[in-house]
Every structure is written in structure tokens, then in C-alpha cells.
């Protein structure tokens, strides 16, 4: 009970922190906030998929009749981590690009996207 509550609190807080970072003006912090959002989502998935699993999802554990954690969710997170890294690096690329074009990392200085 308690640990689930703590998980929920942590996920909610990480999400709030990520959103807050995205809303602020500093683009580097926004990129970090973006990555924190990914982490929060992955954390949520693993928390949901943990069940009462006591053992890693290996065939030997299954055959021994031990209760394992949910392998499907782990597989999903596994690929999600790599893909989120890919998109994170893309965000970093954008920040890098912007800092060169506009000589700033303050998003308020960049309002030329309209034109």
C-alpha cells in the first residue's frame, strides 16, 4: 500500500517537474525536462507491471513455479528507453542548432518560427 502511494507521488512529482521545465524559458532545462517526462512514464510502466513478482522473468523461474514480474511491460520499456534516448538526442540537436542560429538558449528570444 505505502510503496504504491510513494510510487504514485514520485511519478506525479517527476511529471510535474518535467512539465514545469518545459514551460520555462531555458531551452537546456526544457530538454532535461523532456527527458524527465520519459523517465516518469517508464517508471510508471514498471510500477504497474511489477505485480507481486518476486523473481526476474526467466524460464527457469517460471518452471520452478515462482511468481515473476510482467515480462511484456519490461520488453515495452526496454525499447521505449532506447527510442526515448533517440528523441532526446534529437531535442538536444535542436537546442544546439538554435543556440547557433540565434545565439541564445532563451526561448523568448526565438519568435521567428512564424515567418
Amino acid at each position: 500500500m505505502m510503496i504504491e502511494f510513494m510510487f504514485a507521488i514520485a511519478i506525479g512529482m517527476l511529471f510535474g517537474i518535467g512539465v514545469f521545465q518545459l514551460l520555462r524559458r531555458d531551452l537546456i532545462k526544457a530538454a532535461i525536462g523532456f527527458a524527465i517526462l520519459f523517465s516518469a512514464i517508464n517508471l510508471f510502466f514498471v510500477a504497474v507491471g511489477a505485480f507481486e513478482g518476486e523473481f526476474a522473468p526467466y524460464v527457469s523461474n517460471v518452471e520452478a513455479g515462482r511468481s515473476t514480474s510482467d515480462p511484456l511491460i519490461q520488453a515495452l520499456i526496454l525499447t521505449a528507453i532506447v527510442v526515448s534516448f533517440g528523441s532526446f538526442s534529437l531535442v538536444l540537436g535542436f537546442v544546439n542548432m538554435i543556440s547557433r542560429r540565434y545565439d541564445t538558449v532563451d526561448s523568448n528570444d526565438i519568435n521567428k518560427l512564424k515567418h
Binding site: 505505502m2 518535467g18 523517465s39 517508464n42 532563451d106
Partner: protein
């Protein structure tokens, strides 16, 4: 199997023509011969189906696609589809041949042919598909390809861009109606055929044609109207006819093929196809008849006013299409015969006329009737073509068009409705005007003395062949009704079939002659007549007006755009949080849930988790409150590691491993990138962002409120999800029980590489795309011939950096100590060994292709940091990330495709060691060579390559302002 090849062949042709190799090796003549031979072969192939169609009615070939959704890749060939297929391939072969001589430039020809053969494939798929949903896909494909063909000259011709847009707008809008209609029809047919099972939908033609009760279905009115809208827009029926004249800016072969013989007939095909089940309700026939007759009148009336040859032909096409639609709408399917004969006759004479117009345009440089005249002597072949085809259009006795007009008038004479006299009058009126247009084509273009001097140059001789063949068919087919036309049309018609070239001097024949004479009378007094033709309001004007309003609405919306992307996000997320709170969704979801845990006890593992969670959140808060970016990045790294430890405690060793590696990589990446941003830039940002924070800051409060609301919502959602999660009953249980089948110990690895391998395949493709995105953004001056960024678009990076920073990146003097160098030398081979071990034995323990790829990638990034960019590039000549990534993806795809050949399906599991008979041998090393192993290798290579691309792009330093490595780069670049 054959039908799928027939439908695919034009697409394959298009792809083959698009290959650079084909463009450079095959001459224009070869390409012309090849493409028209392909179409001829398809024509013959389709013709060989005729006996089977005559015997058994329909040839059906089905490949399951998504059976649970009622979607199958099915092909259905009956008399009707065969007739259309023969027109598409037969006329197609002639027009493909013509195209080769119409275009003078080889490159232009090639580009055109790629799209034209793509179009013919789409069109063939429309008429051959046995499933309405699949037909819809092909239907849309014809719209898209025709958009490109109409706008072919778009780069320097605003008119053709507008025409292409207009065509796509109208037909695409109609298609939106059509898809809704098709779905409703399929659901209704499913209800009729499977009354006990409400969820089945029947989109297969063979099913729908059995559902004869469709006409009594409750939804009939709705889906009939929607489907008719789709057909009317496609077949340019009034009031949507205006796009067809607009489409005349297409190159003439496209006009001849798409806008007379094939695409505009797609709507007619749809009507003919569905008529057997739809016509029993009053709505269908009367709507078709009314709209068809109106279109016929409007088209014929406005045709004679056009001064552009192609526009005249376009309006007369509109008129004929209207006539065919009206025939399909005659009660009791009495007009189908007239419609079918009309389709053949029209395809022959109209494409010939278009090709003649194109040839005239090619020779004289103009299509305007007023500028033409007296071409009889200069272009005798086109004169013959035009005389025969125009007279066939007018319905001169014993040409093919005459037969068509006879059956049309005959069918109309037998029509008994309330408005019969009026309808008859309309038909006679429009046929007379059509005859008048035909006389004008012959006289004004060929016989009349030219008013202006014409610049004439003789077109290539072979350009005449196709129009001559087409008009020859118009001339002779009338005499070959019994041996050729009747057997072709009989399977397509619902009733017994008889055709006569000359049925004696009866009232139909007299009417027909009378119309021809009336047309001649109109022709003689055309000058005053044409001046009077006109109507104050045209559909084109309504369309333009509508576009104006859409444009106005767009501009109005643009006024609300500030250009600050951050505020868009504020508005989006603010609206979400407002809705969450104001609508009461949050409170209603949360109702009845206990938020404060009653049991506060924690086990030892829980304590460890709790500690990690606290660490995560603390580090998260730190990323917000610390000023310096580097510290924030390190705090972010702490979050990643803490979550990795949580994964480990939650019994997810594979995930934990990947998480730890990827987080390391991500943190390294941020820090490297921070080094590439000028210190002053970052300092300025920090200064301006933190200086005003002691004042009352509205923005801060606003952002805090939004993020707290969203965080709170996520908290409630997560808590409910965690507290009320169901017992483990997902598909995961199946995975747990079946993993031993694929000879793997690690269930997660088996899911990634085997059970859900297609997901993973797409996932690495996404990852590669992201990596290429980074490369595209940051490739600057790296290679002179960089594939992604042209030199002009590369950001000039001179003088942006302090020279010492740039030098540090290039040579890394401060980090490069003997100790660090030794470490990085040792680490790389070890990392590669670890990677190989993780791949080979990943089935037994944690680790897989992802971890292997990231491990090696990390070791390489260490080289970049420690040795500096230049040194690392020099010492790792084999590390060419783009090539490595390509290699990985190719291995993955080949490995996914091989099981298809072995009959296991895409991404199927194959035990290669058993197939090759070396199971015992490799088994003694504890190995199993399976398709999943190869897939893991491919994943590792792709991920490594992708990381390499990202590292290179982000680590790549700016050029030194003293002209540094620019000069050494090209030598390196040529190696790849």
C-alpha cells in the same frame, strides 16, 4: 495469384522506371517500348480471363489481410471489371507509346512515366479489387497520382498548380464522403448477411453483391447519398464537373488517359458495380438519372463555347459521362447496355481526340481554336483521326459512336416516367450540341483558312501511331459487334445482350439522323449562338469564393499566433489542466479511492525502493533549482541511475541494464553538447532567467499552477492504476509459458527479439530516424558532399567559439593524459567483447542487442572525449556510423524476410542451426543460432551505428577560426 500480379505490374514498372540506373541506361525509346509492352502484356493476360469469366461469372482471389476487421487483399474479376481492365490496359498501352514521342526531353518523360504507370496501377487496382476498403485505398491513390500529373508543370505554371489543387480538393472531398459511405454499407451488409453476429462487417464485393436486402436497410438513404457523392465528384458530375476542365493543364497524355478513358470512369465503375444491390430503392436510380442528365446538358451546352481545344474536349467528356451515369440510373437497369457501349465508344474516340489535340499542340505550340485552321494539308494523319473520332462522337452512322447513340436513344425511348418528354428533349438537345462541337473540331481546326500565321514544326512520325489505331478502332468496331463487342459486354450486363449496327429505318434511326442535322444547323449559325451562351453564375465561381473564405479563416487564425512556441505549450497544457479541474473528471475518477494509505508499513525491499524514489524526486527538484546547466545535467543523470536501480529491485534486470547504459549515454551527451554552446550564451540565459525571480513573477506562478495540476492529475491516475491493477492475465502469461519454444531463457529478450519482433524492428527504425535527424540538424561542413545539408544551408560556425574551446574539442589536451588514453584503449575491445557476449548469451542472462549496442557506443564516445575528435576519427577508421547503421537495418530486414520464404511468415522464428544441421556442433558451445540471435546482432549494429551518428554529429567541433581541420576533411570523406 495472377490478379495480384496484374494489379502490381504497373507499380513495379513505375518503380523500375524511377530507378536511377534505369534512367541512365535505358534510352527514351527503350523505356517507351518497355512500358507499352508491359501494358499490352497485361491486356492480353486480362483477355485470357474472358472464357473463365463467361463460364463462371467471377474470378475471386483472396489473401487475408486483417480478417478481424473485414479487410482482405482480395481480387474480383467479373465481366464489368474485365471490361474496365481491358480499357485501362489497352488504351494505356497506346497512350504509353504516344507519351514517348510527346515529350522531347528524356528526364521529363521519365518523371512523367513514373507517375503515369503508378496511376495505371492504382486504376487497375480500383477495378480489380474485391474489397470495398481496398478499392477505396486504390481510389485515393488515383487522386494522388492524378494530382501530380495535373500539376506536372507546376514548378513554373501557377495555372496547373491551381488545376491540380482543384481536382484533388473536389475528388478528395468526395472520397471523404465515399469512405464513410463504404463503411456504413459494409456494416449494413454485415448485419444482413450475419444477422446473429452484429460485429461482422462485410466489405468483400462477393458478400455485398449477395446482400440484396441492402436497399431496405435503415441507413440506405445515408450511405447511398455518401457513395453517390464520391462517384459524382470523381466522375465530374454536375455540380462538381468544374474540376475536369481545370485539370486540362496536365500534359495531354495524362488528359487523354486519366480524364477521358480511365479515372473519371472510376465513379461510373462504382455506380455500375453497386447498382445491382442499390437500384431497388427509388433514390439511387432517380438521383443518377437527374444528375446524369443535368451533367449531360451542362457539358454539351458549355463545350461549344470553349476556345481551348482541350477544354472543349473536357466539357464534351463531362457531357458523355453524364449520359453514361443517366443510363445507369434508368429504372430496372434497362440502360446498362447503353452505358457499357457508351463507355467503350467514348474511351476510343475521346482519347484519340485528346491525342490529336496534343499532337496539334506539339506541332503548332497552341491549342486555341481561334489561332488554328487549315491544318488539313500539314497534318493529314491528325485530320483523318479527328474526322473519324469527332464523327464517332457526333454519332455518324456506322461508326462506333453511332452504335452507342442508337442504344442510348433506344433506352431513353423505352423510359417511362413522369418527365419523359422533358428528359427526351434534354437528351436530344445535348446530342445535337455534341454534334455541333464535333463539326467545329473538324472545320475550325482543319478546314477553315487560318486567321493567324501558324508556327509549324513537324512532330516525330511515330506520334501518329496511337491516335491512328484508336480512330481505326472507332471506324471498324461498329462492323465487328458480333465477334468482338458482344462477347466482351455480355458478361458485364445484367440482361440478355443484343447489338445491331443497323436495326432498320425505325424511329431511333430517324431521331439519330435528325440530331445530326440539328447539330449541323447549330454549327452553321454558331457565331451568334456562341456569343449568347453563358450563365451568370458558374460552379467555378462558387469554388473560388469558398476558397477565399477558407483562406480568410486561415489568416484570421494566424493572427492569434504569437510565434512563441512556449506559449502554445502553456495554452495547450493550461487548457488541459483547466478541463481536468473544471469538468470534474479528476474528482469523479478519484471518488471512492483512498489516497492516504492506511497501512504505513514497508518491507526492506520497499525501503530500498522508497529511498530510490526519494532520490529521484530530490534530483528532479535539483534540476529545476540549480542554475548551472552542467549541474542540472548531472542531477538528471542521478534520476536516471536511481530509476535504473528501481528497475533492478523490481526484478527487471534487462531493463535496468539498458537504463543504466542509456542514462550514462544521455548524460554524457548533454554535457558534450553544453561544451558546444558558447559559454556566454548560456551565461546570458542564466542571468536573464534568474535575475528577476525575487519580484512578483506572474509567469512563474502560472507555470507552477499548470505543472502542479498536471502532476497532480498524473499522481491520481497513477495511484488508481497501481491500486486497482488486475491480476496478471495479460498476454504476458502466454509469453512466460511459451518462451522455452524459442530456446531462450530470458523471457524479456524473447519478447523483444521474437514474439514482438516486428515492434522492435520498427523501433530500431525510429531510433535510426532520430539519429539521422540529429545528423541532418548538425551536419555542417563535415563533408563537402554531405547528403543531408547542402553547403549553402550549412551554418557558418566560424568565430562562434573561443579558439581554446575548439582546440580542446579537436585535440582534448587537458583530458588526454597517458592514464586516460590507456583506459580508453583498453575499454573499447573489452566493450566489444562484452557486447558480443551479451548478444550470444543474452538468452541466458540479462543483456541483449540494445545493451550490446549501447555498451560499444559508450566506449567509442569515451574515445571522442578523451582523445578529441580528430584523433578519434583518425584512430577509428573503420567506425563509419552511417554505413554501420545501414548494415544493421539491412540485416534486420533480410532476417525478417527470410522466414517468409521458409513459410513461417514475416519475422517468423527459424532455428538456423537445425536447418543447417549444425545444431549439435554449436550447441556444445551453449549457442543456438536462431533468427532471434541474428536479429539481436542487427539491433546491436543498428543501435551502435545510430549512437555513432549522434555522437559524431553532436561531438563534431566547429571549424577552428584559424582554418583548422577543414583542409584535412575531404581526404577522410572520400574513404566512405
Amino acid at each position: 495469384m495472377e490478379l495480384i500480379f496484374i494489379a502490381a505490374a504497373p507499380f513495379i514498372l513505375a518503380l523500375a522506371l524511377a530507378l536511377p540506373a534505369a534512367q541512365s541506361t535505358l534510352s527514351k525509346t527503350t523505356q517507351t517500348l518497355l512500358s507499352s509492352l508491359v501494358m499490352t502484356a497485361l491486356f492480353v493476360w486480362l483477355l485470357s480471363f474472358l472464357p473463365r469469366v463467361q463460364d463462371q461469372g467471377a474470378v475471386i482471389q483472396v489473401f487475408d489481410w486483417a480478417p478481424s476487421l473485414g479487410i482482405s487483399l482480395s481480387f474480383y474479376l467479373d465481366g464489368l471489371s474485365l471490361l474496365f481492365g481491358l480499357i485501362i490496359t489497352g488504351v494505356g498501352a497506346l497512350i504509353f507509346f504516344y507519351t514517348g514521342y510527346y515529350f522531347d526531353q528524356s528526364a521529363e518523360y521519365n518523371r512523367f512515366m513514373v507517375w503515369l504507370s503508378g496511376f495505371s496501377g492504382a486504376m487497375l487496382s480500383v477495378v480489380l479489387s474485391g474489397n470495398l476498403l481496398m478499392m477505396f485505398v486504390a481510389w485515393e491513390l488515383t487522386s494522388v497520382t492524378s494530382f501530380v500529373l495535373i500539376g506536372f508543370k507546376g514548378a513554373d505554371d501557377a495555372e496547373s498548380r491551381a488545376g491540380a489543387f482543384k481536382a484533388l480538393f473536389v475528388t478528395g472531398g468526395g472520397a471523404l464522403a465515399l469512405i464513410i459511405g463504404i463503411i456504413m454499407l459494409s456494416v449494413a451488409a454485415g448485419q444482413i448477411l450475419h444477422p446473429d453476429d452484429g460485429t461482422r462487417i462485410a466489405a468483400d464485393l462477393s458478400d455485398i453483391l449477395r446482400a440484396s436486402a441492402l436497399a431496405q436497410h435503415d441507413w440506405y438513404t445515408l450511405f447511398a447519398i455518401l457513395i453517390m457523392l464520391g462517384g459524382f465528384t470523381k466522375s465530374a458530375q454536375f455540380p462538381f464537373h468544374f474540376w475536369l476542365p481545370g485539370a486540362m493543364s496536365a500534359p495531354t497524355p495524362a488528359s487523354a488517359y486519366l480524364h477521358s478513358a480511365t479515372m473519371v470512369k472510376a465513379g461510373i465503375y462504382l455506380f455500375a458495380r453497386l447498382s445491382p444491390v442499390m437500384y431497388q430503392n427509388e433514390l439511387w436510380p432517380s438521383a443518377l438519372l437527374t444528375i446524369g442528365l443535368l451533367t449531360m446538358l451542362v457539358g454539351a451546352y458549355f463545350a461549344v463555347k470553349q476556345r481551348d481545344l482541350k477544354a472543349l474536349l473536357a466539357y464534351s467528356t463531362v457531357s458523355k459521362l453524364g449520359a453514361i451515369v443517366a443510363m445507369l440510373g434508368l429504372p430496372g437497369q434497362n440502360g446498362v447496355k447503353a452505358a457499357l457501349v457508351g463507355i467503350i465508344a467514348h474511351a476510343l474516340y475521346k482519347s484519340a481526340l485528346f491525342l490529336a489535340a496534343g499532337t496539334i499542340d506539339h506541332a503548332t505550340g497552341t491549342r486555341f481554336i481561334d489561332k488554328l485552321g487549315g491544318l488539313r494539308k500539314r497534318m493529314p494523319a491528325m485530320f483523318a483521326v479527328t474526322v473519324i473520332s469527332a464523327l464517332s462522337m457526333a454519332g455518324m452512322p456506322f461508326l462506333m459512336g453511332f452504335v452507342a447513340k442508337e442504344v442510348l436513344l433506344d433506352a431513353m425511348l423505352h423510359y417511362e416516367g413522369r418527365w419523359t418528354p422533358l428528359v427526351m428533349l434534354g437528351v436530344l438537345f445535348s446530342t445535337a450540341f455534341t454534334a455541333m462541337a464535333a463539326y467545329m473540331l473538324i472545320y475550325d481546326v482543319f478546314l477553315r483558312r487560318p486567321r493567324h500565321k501558324i508556327h509549324f514544326h513537324q512532330p516525330p512520325a511515330l506520334i501518329r501511331l496511337s491516335p491512328l489505331i484508336l480512330s481505326g478502332l472507332s471506324l471498324t468496331l461498329g462492323f465487328l459487334l458480333e465477334p468482338v463487342i458482344v462477347p466482351l459486354l455480355e458478361p458485364a450486363a445484367p440482361k440478355s445482350f443484343e447489338l445491331y449496327l443497323f436495326a432498320g429505318v425505325n424511329e431511333v434511326f430517324l431521331l439519330s439522323l435528325g440530331v445530326l442535322l440539328a447539330g449541323f444547323a447549330l454549327f452553321v449559325m454558331r457565331k451568334p449562338l456562341i456569343a449568347r451562351i453563358g450563365f451568370p453564375l458558374s460552379c467555378d465561381m462558387i469554388y473560388d469564393e469558398m476558397l477565399e473564405y477558407i483562406g480568410w479563416a486561415g489568416r484570421t487564425v494566424l493572427h492569434t499566433q504569437s510565434g512563441f512556441v512556449r506559449y502554445y505549450l502553456v495554452i495547450i497544457l493550461g487548457a488541459v489542466s483547466f478541463v481536468l479541474i473544471a469538468s470534474g473528471t479528476l474528482s469523479s475518477v478519484a471518488a471512492g479511492q483512498s489516497f492516504i494509505p492506511r497501512d504505513l508499513s514497508l518491507t526492506i525491499t520497499d525501503l530500498a525502493k522508497a529511498f530510490m524514489l526519494i532520490l529521484t524526486v530530490t534530483a528532479g527538484i535539483l534540476t529545476v533549482v540549480v542554475r548551472e546547466h552542467v549541474k542540472a545535467a548531472i542531477a538528471y543523470g542521478v534520476i536516471g541511475y536511481a530509476i535504473g536501480v528501481i528497475f533492478l529491485i523490481e526484478h527487471a534486470p534487462d531493463v535496468a541494464l539498458v537504463q543504466l547504459l542509456v542514462e550514462t549515454m544521455a548524460t554524457v551527451l548533454i554535457i558534450i553538447m553544453l561544451g558546444r554552446i558558447r559559454t556566454r550564451t548560456r551565461f546570458n540565459a542564466i542571468q536573464s532567467l534568474w535575475s528577476g525571480r525575487h519580484d512578483y513573477n506572474f509567469g512563474l506562478v502560472r507555470d507552477l499552477v499548470i505543472s502542479i495540476t498536471i502532476g497532480g492529475a498524473v499522481f491520481i491516475f497513477a495511484l488508481i492504476a497501481l491500486q486497482s491493477r488486475p491480476e496478471q492475465q495479460s498476454v504476458a502469461q502466454w509469453h512466460l509459458e511459451h518462451t522455452h519454444v524459442v530456446a531462450t531463457e530470458d523471457v524479456v529478450g524473447a519478447i523483444v527479439a521474437d514474439f514482438r519482433g516486428t515492434d522492435t524492428l520498427l523501433e530500431i527504425a525510429v531510433f535510426t530516424t532520430a539519429a539521422l535527424g540529429v545528423l541532418t540538424l548538425l551536419a555542417r561542413g563535415r563533408q563537402s558532399g554531405s547528403a543531408f545539408v547542402p553547403r549553402t544551408a550549412q551554418v557558418s560556425s566560424l568565430h562562434e567559439f573561443n579558439d581554446e574551446v575548439v582546440d580542446e574539442i579537436h585535440d582534448a589536451t587537458s583530458l588526454s593524459t597517458p592514464f586516460t588514453r590507456t583506459v580508453s584503449y583498453i575499454v573499447l575491445p573489452i566493450a566489444i567483447l562484452i557486447g558480443i557476449a551479451q548478444i550470444l548469451y543474452g538468452g541466458i542472462g540479462p543483456g541483449d542487442g540494445f545493451t550490446a549496442g549501447v555498451t560499444i557506443g559508450l566506449a567509442i564516445s569515451l574515445w571522442y572525449i578523451v582523445l578529441g575528435y580528430d584523433e578519434a576519427r583518425r584512430q577509428l577508421p573503420w567506425f563509419r556510423p552511417e554505413i554501420i547503421t545501414r548494415l544493421g537495418l539491412v540485416i534486420a530486414i533480410v532476417n525478417a524476410a527470410i522466414p517468409i520464404i521458409l513459410g513461417r511468415g514475416f519475422m517468423g522464428h527459424v532455428q538456423y542451426d537445425k536447418v543447417l544441421g549444425i545444431y549439435e556442433l554449436v550447441g556444445s558451445f551453449g549457442l543456438h543460432i536462431t533468427s532471434s540471435l541474428i536479429f539481436e546482432i542487427a539491433i546491436a549494429i543498428t543501435v551502435m551505428g545510430g549512437l555513432g551518428i549522434i555522437m559524431e554529429a553532436i561531438a563534431y567541433p566547429a571549424a577552428r577560426s584559424n582554418g583548422g581541420p577543414q583542409s584535412t576533411e575531404p581526404a577522410e570523406a572520400t574513404g566512405g
